[in-house]
């Protein structure tokens, strides 16, 4: 695994932590005072800081550090998380997200904003607490005994600089300069099982200052009662460092949740000093110069023996005992792996209980999905050829094939489920959008999200963020009124924007509701007339007027604001939703607000389609677009102009679109009476009747991108492979409907660009 991959994982984790952070802060904002929530928030910032430190992302570390300090005040109860405090914190979370993104993708962040927030955070951290706690950064002069930046030796150990002067007369003086902290550190077994090593942590600790250490071995049980992979040792460390408590904590960054860690200023610690503190001071140079230690006997010698004697004893004994030792080692080898395997299994079980997840490269999942798609196609081809060659029709092969079909469908569903992700992250991003816009517009807005755990294909999620952001901006900027107006209208001055997601008949429905003024139809209508979208005397239903906002270049804001009304508006939203195979509709009640609802497919990999025949070609029409199918009667067909035809359905007229003609499958218009009409919903809410020659049936098809394998074809959305092995094109209903309008389509396009 190279550094880039690790970096990538770090940023993925950052995203999770940021989401966690925001969830926690929002909970706090709602009055949750559970210490665990505060801890979760703190942990999130802390982890980001830790990881960022490892990658030397200094800006990120610096900001996270200040943020963390303030959060720590909340955690320790020194700072009451009031609404105002949380407002700053939420903003800080946004900046932290920005900094993370900047660190990942390059680019810059608004420095003045983060600087201002740093000041606010610091003010919060300092404002309500005595200076005693806020003194982790002594500005004092360098200590008399400078901490030697000792080089790492070959064995990877860092010598710990130590001066005996500290125990002499100079001690007090030195203490004045760099504060001494007493650290108690007790690792839990998880620390080791996660691959951390206490010795390495202690080594790192030794690097930030002069330290002496005492190891408590009292908890170590006797040999037969101990778990070799348990954790029994604990340490009391006295360290003199300029880095302060934060510096010490940063050493334990990744281990903090797997150990008991207590850091105190030495003065405080002395007050309740009950430990027999026997520090073992050392310096590597002492190793070579043993007499210098004087009364510090060599480590490990038992009572009277001296090193030489021990060596001799060992040498002699080694000769005698080697065979025995080897034999016992062999015997042990059999047991030991079994024991460690059992231990590992236990650990695995414990982990499983906590809900295990793995990170898998998206490419791999996509490859699997692709292969499963091929499998489905292949299975369909196989069963088709069996049916064709089967004379009696009841062979056992058919039974087997049916089971195979069920299995493949199940495999396909399971594979799709891998890609399914909750919409939560997108919804959370919207919370930020709402905050920012509310700030800019001076409106007070509350975002309520529901059904965040509704799952949908990751591709859909990724592409959902942009249109949703647009819509939220619109809802807050155009939809909600200013607080004064709201009060005047007898509403809560705080506007509500509700974002909900739910599954409905195999699709995901996302609704965005605001309790604002609703669509001002008069204004919309006037604007549409001004923009030549409709004629002044056009007679439009309320629904049609509402749908005008989806037209390109439409903006009802009186003046172009910073937020919305830059010419890209709801038309872009509609287009992106449609590109996802979705539909968007709007409902609005004057004075009560508007609801936008989007219906999206759960996946972009398979599609329920109606297989139809047009001029000898097989086409697939997405089922979601079809409202109904009907057999036209000659009496219902009316000519309109030179080439246009209308079909009358239940006393209303609907343009008839000959798909074969539009796609240039045939030169002449087909006779409608010989074909079938598919009534489809098109842009703007209007309906069109697509004329095809015949319907073959309904089928779930695996979508194969035409762009990726060939090139974009107008009127065609994608392709698929049918059971007989032939390629069928999937119709782009909106493009076909648009093309049937001919001139008007091109005009719209030029408006948009």
């Amino acid at each position: 695994m190279d550094m880039n991959e690790i970096r990538e994982i770090f940023f993925q984790e950052c995203e999770e932590q940021l989401a966690e952070l925001e969830t926690g802060l929002l909970k706090l904002n709602d009055g949750d005072r559970d210490p665990e929530t505060v801890n979760a928030v703190f942990r999130a910032v802390h982890s980001i800081k830790g990881g960022a430190g490892a990658f030397a992302l200094d800006d990120l570390v610096a900001f996270a550090h200040v943020f963390e300090t303030t959060l720590d005040c909340v955690r320790s109860g020194k700072l009451e998380p009031s609404q105002d405090v949380l407002k700053v914190m939420l903003k800080s979370a946004d900046v932290l997200a920005d900094l993370t993104n900047a660190a990942r993708d390059g680019g810059t962040v608004d420095e003045s904003r983060s600087r201002a927030l740093v000041k606010e955070l610091e003010a919060l951290a300092n404002g309500e607490q005595p200076a005693a706690h806020a003194a982790p950064e002594p500005v004092a002069a360098k200590p008399a005994v400078a901490a030697a930046p000792a080089p790492t030796d070959s064995s990877g150990f860092q010598p710990i600089p130590f001066s005996f002067d500290d125990f002499g007369g100079e001690e007090e003086e030195v203490l004045m300069v760099a504060p001494t902290y007493t650290v108690t550190f007790k690792p839990r077994a998880e620390l080791f099982s996660k691959g951390n090593e206490a010795a390495l942590l202690l080594r790192d600790l030794s690097r930030i200052g002069e330290m002496s250490i005492h190891c408590h071995t009292g908890d170590v049980p006797t040999l037969d009662r101990m778990d070799p992979e348990g954790s029994y040792l604990s340490w009391t460390i006295s360290i003199k460092t300029e880095k302060g408590e934060e510096g010490i904590r940063s050493v334990f960054e990744f281990a903090e949740w797997d150990c008991e860690l207590d850091i105190k200023l030495a003065e405080e610690a002395e007050a309740d000093d009950e430990r027999p503190m026997i520090p073992v001071p050392f310096d590597l140079s002492l190793l070579e110069d043993e007499p210098a230690i004087g009364d510090e006997p060599h480590v490990g010698m038992h009572v009277e023996p001296v090193v030489a004697a021990a060596v001799a004893a060992a040498e002699t004994a080694t000769g005698v005992m080697q065979a025995a030792a080897a034999a016992s080692a062999r015997a042990e080898k059999k047991e030991a792996p079994a024991a460690s395997a059992a231990a590992q299994a236990n650990a695995a079980n414990a982990a499983n209980a906590a809900g295990q997840t793995i990170r898998v490269d998206l490419d791999r999942v996509d490859r699997l999905i692709n292969l499963v798609g091929e499998l489905v196609i292949n299975q369909a081809m196989l069963s088709q050829s069996v049916i064709e060659n089967d004379n009696n029709g009841t062979s056992s092969i058919n039974m087997g094939l049916e089971e195979l079909q069920q299995l493949t469908r199940e495999i396909q569903d399971s594979v799709m489920a891998i890609r399914a992700q909750p919409v939560k992250p997108v919804f959370q991003r919207m919370a930020r959008t709402v905050r920012e816009i509310a700030d800019i517009t001076g409106k007070s807005v509350r975002l309520i999200t529901e059904g965040e755990n509704t799952e949908v294909d990751k591709t859909v999620i990724d592409k959902l963020a942009e249109p949703l952001t647009h819509m939220i901006r619109n809802a807050v900027d155009h939809g909600l009124e200013m607080p004064e107006k709201r009060i005047a209208a007898g509403k809560n001055p705080e506007g509500t924007v509700r974002l909900t997601a739910k599954h409905r008949s195999g699709r995901i429905v996302i609704e965005l509701t605001d309790d604002g003024a609703g669509i001002n139809r008069e204004k919309v209508r006037q604007k549409a007339i001004d923009n030549d979208l409709i004629t002044a005397d056009a007679n439009l239903s309320d629904e049609e007027i509402d749908n005008l906002i989806f037209h390109a270049g439409f903006s009802t804001a009186d003046k172009v604001s910073d937020l919305s009304g830059r010419g890209v508006g709801m038309d872009v939203v509609k287009r992106s939703i449609q590109a996802l195979g979705g539909r968007i509709s709007i409902q609005s009640k004057p004075g009560q607000g508007s609801t936008f609802s989007m219906s999206l497919p759960l996946t972009l990999a398979v599609l329920d389609g109606m297989v139809v025949t047009v001029a000898g070609q097989t086409l697939v029409v997405p089922l979601t677009a079809i409202v109904e199918t009907l057999q036209p009667e000659a009496a219902a067909i009316h000519s309109f102009g030179a080439t246009q035809r209308l079909i009358s359905i239940r006393n209303s007229f609907c343009p008839l679109v000959d798909v074969g003609r539009i796609l240039n499958f045939r030169a002449q218009q087909a006779n409608p009476v010989e074909g079938v009409a598919l009534l489809v919903e098109s842009e703007g809410g209007g309906q069109r009747a697509l004329m095809v020659d015949a319907i073959q049936g309904q089928r779930q098809v695996v979508i194969k991108s035409l762009e990726a394998n060939y090139m974009h074809v107008p009127g065609i959305a994608a392709a698929t492979i049918l059971g007989d092995g032939r390629v069928a094109l999937i119709l782009d209903v909106d493009a076909v409907v648009g093309a049937s309008r001919g001139q008007s389509l091109r005009q719209e396009m030029s408006l948009a660009s």
Binding site: I160, T222, M226, G300, H302, A310, E332
Partner: protein, 98 residues
């Protein structure tokens, strides 16, 4: 003391990491009941958990009233002991004092 019949020796492996702890534990268990010299001269890397096992061993030997000696030590072993502040001398003498 060289050549004492009941004296045994245990040569520690070069790498005493997490995985080695169980192995070491097992080895020590099997050597209970006689004086022991632990040879740490080949140790290149020593983790905390193996130190724990050794500490537990020292205690066990103490309880058995047998001698537990850490014999020749490699530089790395010595450094680790100092780094994590484990002093077998103290552990053993404390046991005696009790």
């Amino acid at each position: 003391m060289a050549g004492k019949k009941s004296e045994q020796s245990l040569k520690l492996a070069a790498v005493l990491d997490l995985n080695a702890a169980s192995v070491l534990h097992g080895k020590l268990q099997s050597l209970r009941g006689s004086d022991i010299t632990v040879d740490a001269s080949a140790v290149e890397r020593c983790g905390t958990q193996c130190v724990q096992v050794l500490v537990a061993g020292a205690k066990a030997w103490e309880a058995d009233k047998k001698t537990f000696t850490i014999g020749p030590m490699s530089g790395a072993f010595e450094q680790t002991m100092q780094l994590i502040g484990v002093n077998f001398e103290q552990i053993l003498s404390k046991e005696i004092a009790q």
